[in-house]
Symmetry: C2
Subunit: 206 residues, 2 copies
Amino acid sequence: MEETRRERKKRQTRHLLIQAAVRLFTEQGYEQTTGAQIAAAADVSTKTFFNYFPSKEDVLFADAERYYGLALEVIADRAPDDTVPQVLRRCFDRAIGRYLAQGMWAEEPEMAEIHQRLLATVPSVQAKALHVMLGAQRRIADALLKAFPDRLDPISAAAATGAFMGAVQAAGLAGVEMYGESEQDYLAAMGRAADIVIRGLDSLTG
Amino acid sequence: MEETRRERKKRQTRHLLIQAAVRLFTEQGYEQTTGAQIAAAADVSTKTFFNYFPSKEDVLFADAERYYGLALEVIADRAPDDTVPQVLRRCFDRAIGRYLAQGMWAEEPEMAEIHQRLLATVPSVQAKALHVMLGAQRRIADALLKAFPDRLDPISAAAATGAFMGAVQAAGLAGVEMYGESEQDYLAAMGRAADIVIRGLDSLTG
DNA sequence: TGGCTTACCGCATCGGATGCAAAAATACAA
DNA sequence: TTGTATTTTTGCATCCGATGCGGTAAGCCA
C-alpha cells in the first residue's frame, strides 16, 4: 500500500510539530512554552497544533500507544501453556527490548531525555502519563481476561494488571529520582519491580 | 487550643464551597459547572474559590489526605514483628474501616456518590486522582523504607507500594464499572485485589 | 477538467488559573 | 477603645489551553 501525498504531508507536519515542541521544551522549559509558539516554530497555525494533539501534553505521548500495543500483541500471541505471570513478564521484556533497540522514540531520539525529565518534574505531565497508563491498563486487563477466561475473572485480571503496571511505574519513577538519568540503572530498577510482582503473582495463577 | 474566629470562618467558607460545588456538579454536571458559578453559589469571589482550591478538580479531593495519612499512621504504629505485607494489609483495612464508619466524606456525605461517578467518567478527574495517589504512594513508600530498612531498599519499597496501590485502584475502578455503584460489591473487589497482591508480596519479604 | 474529501486556517470565544494591589476582616496589644 | 500588624477577600487585568465555526486551499480520483 503506497503512501499518498496527503498522508506523507500529514506525517511530516506531525513530525515537525513534535520536533519543534521538543526543541522549545528543551530551550525554555515546558511550562514556558505555549502551544502557539510550537505551532509558530513549525510554521502552522495554532489551531492546527491542537488538531494534531488534543492537548499540549499529548505531544509527549505520541508514541505511547506503540508500547502499550506491544503488550496486546504479546497477549494475543501467547503459547497455549503460558501462565498469566509468564505473559506479563514477556510483555515487559518485549517493551524493554524495543526500547533498547530503537529508543523510546523511534523517530525522535532527542525526545527520550526531555521526556523523562518532564515526567519526573512537571505535574501535569505526570498526571497525563498516569492517565494514559490507566487507559492501557484497562485494555490489557481486558485482553488478559479474554486470554485466560478459566484462570481469571474481571477483578483478578484488573488487580494483576494494576499490580504489575503500578509496580513497574513506581519503581521506574523511583529509579529516575535516585539515579538521575542513568538509563541502565532505572531500567534495572523496573526489572526488579517486575521480578517482585511476577513472583508474587505466581502464587495466584500457578 | 480554641478555634479562632478566623479559622472558623475559613472552615465554613471551605465547607460552603464544597457543598456548592457538589450541588452544582450533581445538578448540571462537572464540565458544565464553572469555577465562577461555584464561587457565586457560595457567595464569594471567583478568586477566592481558587484561593481555597488550586484547581477545580481539587474540590473533589479535599479529604483525600485524611485517607492517605491513615496509611502513614499505620506504618508508624506498627508492631516490632510486623511484616511489610501485614502492615500494608492493615493500611487497607483501616482505610476501609474508616470509610464504612463515616463514609468517604466525613463532613460532606453527599459527596460520596457524585465522587465515584465523576471518578469513573470524567477524564480530568481520573487523571487528578491518579496524580494524588502517586504523591501518596511516594510518601508511603518512603515511610515503609524507613520502617523496614533491613528488609527493603528504595526500589523494592516503591515496587511493593506501587503494586499494592495499583492493584487496589484498578480493581476498584473495575468494580465500579462492573457493579455500577453498589458499594458492597466494589469494596469486595478491592478487598480481593488486596488479598491477591498481599499474598504475592509475602514471597518477597516473608 | 471538475467535483469530492480532507486538511488548514483565522477568528471569536470560553473557562481555568495567576498576579497584583487595594480593601475588608480579624487578631492582638497598649 | 484605639491603633497596628496580619490575614483574607476581592476585583481586575491577563495569560494560556482548548473548542467551534466557516471559509479557503490542497490533495484525490474519476
